[in-house]
Amino acid sequence: MSKKKMTLPELATALNGLETEDGLSFHAEMIEGEVPALQVSVSDREEFPIYITIDDSQILAVSYLWKESEIKPGAREALLDALLTLNIPMPLSAFSKLGSQYVIFGALSSESDLKDVIHEVDVLSDNTLEALESVSEFLE
């Protein structure tokens, strides 16, 4: 009964060269590995690519922010507070940490359609820049 699930190569094909209403364009590249991921770079924002993985239950899109070592001395608590506070007002994305790496991510049902995923990538890329802007005072 469940819908056909999207695969990363399908997503790559759909994203490649796609242009959004805001004039952003995507470039998608497969990263092979034990668990493959899709690296999506957004034009003019190549520094913050988005990584997408698909498993049985969810599609995960992650963008890397800063590392623990980039936080200004003494500003960590204020930064964490700001991140928690931002979590809800920020549309579709949330903050997390992988090791010492702070990330921003969005998770979708693995049965989402292409339109949803594209929207997710678009919003996540915007949120990445917005988030960095918002907490820049805490970072070196």
Binding site: G33, V35, A37, D44, D55, D56, W66, K67, E68, G99
Partner: protein, 233 residues
């Protein structure tokens, strides 16, 4: 340990410096092992469930047979009484008592079996859920590792330096600078266009004899003549 706690440990084994693996491979191996264990457990539970369900069906059948026999013998007893054969009726009644005594433990057994089936079903459901969650987390950790490698590669490409990772703020500054450049370019183009528009207008005005250009020889002479006229008057 809860899955989240384990995950936390697995990822935390991670790296504080760039280039180091984010994932603790030891923790990952443990989680892989746990997945295999859970899968085995699940297989056993399912086999157990099949067995207990078969036993339950057998008990149900036995209970039904005994109950049917009791009903039949009750009929026989009534018939014997109708025929006035008290002795036979007593014998039949004794048989009924015997059958009833046999049913009671069977019913107790059945209740237990029904409980076992429900419990096993519950266990299977929980194990499946846990298994799925663990698999998901392991997949996430593994993909994180490949993503991390890619991320390191990108960072060194964009920072232009060989070793130092570029910080998020530096990256952000670069993006902003590019955006500024773009908008400057666009503004410049707009300004040019505007000037172009102005130039056009001037040309049209000049063609129509309207001009704001500096004083011409003629107009100065006219002014001087006017001055002299006034002075001599």
């Amino acid at each position: 340990m809860s899955i989240f706690k384990k995950l936390f440990t697995a990822v935390r084994g991670a790296a504080t410096e760039a280039g180091e693996a984010v994932v603790d491979s030891q923790a990952l191996r443990i989680m892989d092992q746990e997945i295999r264990d859970a899968e085995n457990e699940l297989k056993k539970s399912k086999e157990g469930l099949t067995t207990v369900m078969a036993q339950k069906m057998s008990t149900e059948r036995q209970v039904k047979e005994k109950q049917k026999a009791i009903e039949e013998h009750e009929g026989y007893a009534v018939q014997a009484l109708d025929k006035g054969d008290e002795g036979l009726a007593v014998q039949i009644a004794e048989k009924i008592a015997e059958l009833t005594n046999e049913v009671t433990p069977l019913e107790t057994l059945l209740t237990g079996q029904i409980q076992s089936v429900n419990q096993l079903k519950q266990t299977i459901k929980q194990t499946e859920k846990r298994l799925q969650a663990t698999k998901r987390e392991v997949a996430l950790i593994k993909s994180t590792a490949s993503v991390q490698k890619a991320q390191d590669a990108i960072a060194s490409t964009h920072s232009g330096s060989t070793s130092a990772m570029s910080s998020a703020m530096e990256s952000m500054q670069r993006i902003k600078a590019r955006q500024q450049q773009k908008s400057d370019k666009m503004n410049a183009a707009l300004a040019l266009e505007e000037e172009g528009g102005d130039g056009d207008l001037k040309a049209k005005m000049a063609a129509a004899g309207i001009t704001d250009s500096g004083p011409s020889g003629n107009s100065i002479l006219e002014k001087l003549k006017a001055k002299r006229g006034n002075a001599s008057a």
